[in-house]
């Protein structure tokens, strides 16, 4: 709690920024984004800096996995059942070449966590990009066109909102797996997961973007653009889009953590990445079977990694939301 107090204090103390909508669109905005107050509030909160450092460390470790991991857990040839169930190196019966122990198939836990985090992060990032792409386009269209288009898109969004995202993801995942059940194609499961998670998270973006678009489309610069005869597509993506990016960025950051957790949940339920290419969720699922048999390391380390990753990204997202919200300043 002690770390949290100065954070909110700092935010209130930060000098008020210019109102978001008043800025002219286009270049200079990116520079302004990282202008003094944002960077300032970032550097003055130790917790956020810590979260950022942790995120950067974990993401880079994950993406460097093939270089830094002691073993390649996806290379089935290198696995030996004789190494299975080895405890962490410091425990009795541990082996130095497996610092965090091995799982039930003889995979090195440390290496699998690195590779697994990479899969989880990649799926998270791709699915957030997909969700942003769909949500942004539909939201802009609905907000700008209004009328019947708006009603149709937003009612679809409302219907989807009544289902929990994980349910939608399970449905899409289940249908896709049933179709491709017996046919192997490289990376197939990966894209199925991206599709399932992406399609279940687009609604939030669409609603936010539509709301902002509704306000923006009646502003003078849009009128001006329309008067000089620009096509609607150009107005939407070149003139309105830059003004709605702020809130989208905030949601995307928070959703990244959510997407990673959703991937883990799907894998934990056995419909995500296969056990031969484990992600964090698959590892937790495998480890869960051995909870009572004393092999705590199989579930503890991947669980801890997932928790830390989600926490760090969430803290970043929260900070970004507060920092970009003019009402809080």
């Amino acid at each position: 709690m002690n770390e949290l107090a100065p954070l909110s204090h700092d935010l209130k103390a930060a000098p008020p920024a210019q109102a978001q909508g008043a800025r002219p669109p286009g270049r200079g905005r990116v520079a302004a984004f990282f202008d003094s107050d944002l960077l300032h509030s970032f550097l003055r909160s130790k917790l956020v800096v810590l979260a950022a450092l942790l995120t950067v460390a974990m993401v880079s470790a994950a993406f460097l996995a093939p270089v830094i991991a002691p073993h390649d857990p996806y290379d089935l040839k290198s696995l030996s059942l004789l190494d299975a169930n080895t405890p962490p190196a410091w425990e009795k019966g541990g082996d130095r070449s497996f610092p965090l122990g091995t799982d039930d198939q003889g995979r090195d836990i440390l290496s699998t966590i690195l590779y697994g985090t990479r899969s989880s992060m990649l799926i998270g990032i791709c699915s957030v990009l997909l969700a942003v792409g769909i949500g942004l386009s539909l939201g802009l269209w609905a907000g700008y066109a209004g009328g019947r288009v708006d009603t149709v898109i937003m009612r679809i969004a409302d219907v989807q909102l009544t289902f929990p995202a994980i349910l939608t993801a399970l449905l899409i995942d289940g249908v896709a797996l049933a179709i491709f059940r017996n046919y192997h194609f490289e990376g197939g499961k990966f894209w199925i997961l991206v599709l399932a998670i992406g399609l279940s998270f687009w609604v939030q973006y669409a609603r936010t973007v539509r709301g902002v678009t509704l306000v923006e489309r009646n502003k003078e610069y849009v009128e001006a653009a329309r008067l000089i005869g620009l096509r609607p597509l150009k107005i939407m993506f070149q003139h309105i889009l830059p003004n709605v990016l702020g809130p989208v960025l905030v949601i995307a950051t928070i959703n990244l953590a959510l997407a990673v957790i959703t991937e883990a949940t799907l894998s934990f339920l056995g419909v995500g990445l296969p056990p031969t290419e484990p992600s964090l969720g698959t590892m937790i699922q495998i480890g869960n079977k051995y909870l009572f048999s004393g092999s705590w390391w199989m579930v503890a380390f991947p669980g801890l990694t997932l928790a830390l990753l989600a926490l760090a990204v969430n803290l970043l997202g929260d900070w970004l939301r507060d920092a970009l919200n003019p009402k809080l300043r």
């Binding site: 040839k77 017996n182 046919y183 056990p275």
Partner: protein, 532 residues
Amino acid sequence: MSWRTILKTATLCTALVMVADAADARAIKWARSGDALTLDPHAQNEGPTHNLLHLIYEPLILRDRTGKLLPTLATSWQIREDDPTIWEFKLREGVKFHNGNTFNADDVVFSLERALQPSSDMKGLLTFIDKVSKVDDSTVHIKTKGPNPLVPNYLTNLYMMDKQWAEANNTVTVQDYKAKVDNFSVRNANGTGAYMLVSREQDVKTVLKRNDGYWGKAEFPVGITEITYLTIKSDATRVAALISGEIDFVQDVPVQDIDRLEKNASLKVTLGPENRTIFLGLDVASPELKTSNVKGKNPFADKRVRQAVNMSIDREAIKRAVMRGQSVPAGVIAPPFVNGYTKELDALPKVDLDKAKALLKDAGYPDGFQVTLNCPNDRYINDEGICQAVTAMLAKIGIKVNLVAQPKGPHFTLIQKEPPESEFYLLGWGVPTYDSHYIFSFLYHTRAGKDGGWNATRYSNPDLDKKIQSLTGEVNAAKRNATIADVWKTLGEETIYIALHHQTLAYAMKRDLDIQVSPDNQVHMKFIAAKQ
């Protein structure tokens, strides 16, 4: 509510609990990893399905916990002296179905004829039957196609249905499970057994209560008054529920948890071998494998490839790491209980990766190939773990396996469909008849008519089929055993299936229960007393 009312209620509750405790009977909550696939008594010849059905329905003859034949709905049976192709069964009198109808010879004729229908999964056990006929209300004759001394062995999982009930509810036709057909008997039941169906929610919970009109009340303890049969797929959750006291009996104890449960003072673990072998099946005859990257030919059709697979699997390692010592590595798919089993057949192939790679190279696959392995994840002990281990072992000789693990319902459908939809699969086969013929007819015989129902390998050998068929009519035991040995010898050279291990069972329960492991893994609750 006044204090007095609360106090009164509390006292009453305590008294009630004490009454329940003092009685010589108890309810039991029983958990398994997978549920019965259906309640239709003849639709699926599968262990857990039989287990639930045995509580509700009864066969003419039951195999008890020691493997002995026990008169059940039949009190005696013998071959007619005047005609060796007729088996005469005397039926138990005064037996009532749960709905009150009287059990008689008509029901036996009806049930056996029902089990012979094309959609029945039990038909493969009854290939010897020529005709079933009623002599009088308590006598039935089964005419066999030739003299057959083993008939009683085939009847231990064949349940007797009420003809009137089946006709009234339009369930005369057996459910076609693989075509996903449904009928009244899939969710309702009317047997003669010691327990009656109260409610059932597939894959979640089945509640049964003791049948007070049961004919065997005096003969068997029947101490359990109510059975709540739960499906808990997750190993950890199942064990946690037992430790916390929420359930009383776990039939599929995960091998990794046996140690811990044995140390728990309020629990008891019983261990024993099962009459079941776990193995891999290969599509040996299709012109091409759909799930493989090899086009125009089927790698598994080449015996050298099958042998390479066989010698690349380290069964001892699977036993040690995946099964935690709770399995007996196997070289043949017949469990040691079975007539025809020999130690020589069961000799383990030597693990030899270099030779396996050389064989693959000879066969024209120096870089290996891809194939999909179908695996159940809630049927056999650590089934998915075994498949993962196999996947890693085959990777070492270049065979890239895409592992698809799913619940047994869809998995078994892949195998039973015609044509089968799996080209490489894990299966376990228990042998309730304790005779090799049961393995031959279901797993090796060409899939045609009543035979080969679980043979998804597409293997077809007409000479062998003839030998298998000759077994049902052979009365001379020595000659019959010679044929069995001969068939095993041929199969040993063919490597149609790749045996992995004979399964070992572990049950865990509360201290006051005494449920011993039986080799056929069927828990007959009527044998269980409730001692206090």
